[in-house]
């Protein structure tokens, strides 16, 4: 009986090491004194200072956050509308077509999405004169487009399993369908909206392929910036930036876990 337990514990630690050792080494090397990433030369926080002084990199961070924020907003809004159409309007004509069209970006390679959006923007500029040049706006449109697909999957699966009688009860008590949706359905599916938003935000923040197709002069997002700077040799500044991002993500995850655990405990207490 003892051997399998020891074996599974061993496998657990191998798995954890596989997942987290790279990040750990990245964090350790962000405190490296040396300007060569692979050579250890003692502790230092100088690359954090360098990072905050590097205006190009910092403005790319803010630009990326901005794009991710607005892309996530647009994706959730469109995702809610698409989900309502898919789950609540019964079997209307073209329902299955809408379903596959909305889900298509999930399986489409990023290169193809990026290229097709680039071609679209170019020909739109030729025909209607908009967008005049590619930049943040076109990145936002592109990100909103493919994030909507993910947001719709998350939101519509929640909406599908939601008991219809909540909406009906609200209408029965005198709320118009729109009011009932806003006052009852939306608050109930709020956790799904939040996860759809976070997912879209992350995807947008992470994307380098689509963004590099549709970006223009002066609209370099963080992944593009990092990607191009790595080609000239990795600077320990990137390590510092990555460490900060890992820290923020961990804190957010921890907070979500803590909140949901507290809620679960309160429910148990009530019973």
């Amino acid at each position: 009986m003892k051997t399998p337990v020891r074996f599974s514990a061993w496998m657990f630690w191998v798995g954890m090491a596989f997942l987290y050792l790279p990040m750990l080494s990245l964090i350790i090397y962000s405190f490296n004194e040396s300007r060569l990433v692979t050579v250890w030369a003692g502790w230092s926080t100088k690359w954090y200072g360098e990072l905050f002084r590097d205006e190009g990199l910092m403005s790319a961070v803010w630009r990326s956050l901005e794009v991710a924020f607005w892309s996530a907003n647009a994706a959730v809004l469109l995702g809610v509308m698409a989900s309502v159409a898919l789950t609540r309007f019964g079997n209307f004509r073209g329902r299955s077509m809408l379903h596959s069209l909305v889900a298509a970006p999930l399986v489409m390679p990023d290169v193809i999405i990026g290229l097709s959006l680039l071609l679209l923007f170019v020909s739109m500029t030729d025909v209607i004169g908009w967008p005049q040049q590619r930049g943040l706006l076109t990145i936002w449109v592109a990100h909103a487009t493919f994030c909507t697909a993910y947001a719709t999957v998350v939101i519509s699966s929640r909406l599908k399993e939601l008991d219809r009688s909540y909406l009906e009860a609200a209408m029965d008590l005198g709320a118009t369908p729109l009011k009932a949706f806003i006052q009852v359905t939306l608050p109930i599916i709020m956790p799904a909206l939040v996860s759809a938003w976070l997912l879209s935000f992350t995807l947008s923040l992470d994307d380098v392929v689509i963004a590099s197709f549709v970006s223009g002069p002066g609209a370099t997002t963080l992944p593009i910036e990092v990607f191009s700077s790595v080609r000239l040799g990795v600077s320990p500044k990137i390590n510092a930036l990555a460490t900060i991002i890992i820290l923020i993500v961990s804190l957010v995850t921890l907070a979500v876990w803590w909140l949901s655990r507290r809620k679960l405990q309160r429910e148990k207490l009530a019973k």
Partner: protein, 373 residues
Amino acid sequence: MIEPSITRDSADGHFLQIKSIVKTYDDVVAVNDVSLDIAKGDIFALLGASGSGKSTLLRMLAGFETPNSGQIILDGEDIVSLEPYRRPINMMFQSYALFPHMTVEQNIAYGLKQDRMPKKMIADKVVQMLRLVHMEKFAKRKPEQLSGGQRQRVALARSLAKSPKLLLLDEPMGALDKKLRTRMQLEVVDILESVGVTCVMVTHDQEEAMTMANRIAIMEEGRIVQAGTPRDIYEAPNSLQAAEFIGSMNLFHGEICVDAEDHAVIDSQECANKLYVSYGVTTALDDKQVVFAVRPEKTMISREQPDSEYNWCRGMVHDIAYLGGHSIYHIRLDNGKILNSFMVNSDRFADAPTWEEQVYVYWSDDSGLVLRP
């Protein structure tokens, strides 16, 4: 407690009239030409198996489904074309559908807020409703922090808060366990009677319908089989369907051989003796096939042969289900047919017939019924 404002008789006419309602889904007829009259203050139960159309009818009353044809007239007004949120009707859902993100108080106040009632009045009404369902202590709780019975009370309070003209209950006890069910049935009826609201409920449980309702309609395949008081439906079913739906019945297929003004005699292959009913059965000459029916609790068991000419048969005790208050005997007749008979256990250790004993089952002349096959 609030004074009962309405006496429960069906005298004051047609408060809710359902007139030849038809509802089809594609090719399936869910509700087929149903007409019902429901009086003010009635607690009316639609009783039927799943798929009988009872829920569809209820949803049409609430406004969630639109009938293909027919009228629904509530207090003199045709409401068929009215949206659900404009109808003076409230519903208690089977799942209760309490809004999980609102407290008990907010749930009850939700309907009143939609009417833009002043805040003070809403607060007063909420307190009044909480008192009505004995939930004052739980006003600040969320639905997830309540037990099944408490949730039901909140759901009831929420649907009564707007003082609807008509209250709809969809399988009101469906989400409760058996023990709680019996208690809540009486409690809900008490609350409904103290408010005096007219109520239509849907249930598949005949015991629930008979406990709670003062009138029942049995539905089958989208039609009303019979409507009447629980006693009417139990003691005078108008058809084989109605008789078999409620309670259990011993049935003998046979032919009418004497058809007098005040009695009839039926000759059945399934019973050694002739069967007698103490009321006249008008039959056409060429249609003598009938079914004689007698309820198990109206039959008696004895070891001695009855001296009557009619209404008894001989058999063996095949099985006994001892239920405490009474026992159900399964008697196998000589021809193999099984009869059910109830025996009340009034003596603690009476010398009752036991397995494989020969007994006689008999019943009085006015116990039987004649139904059309």
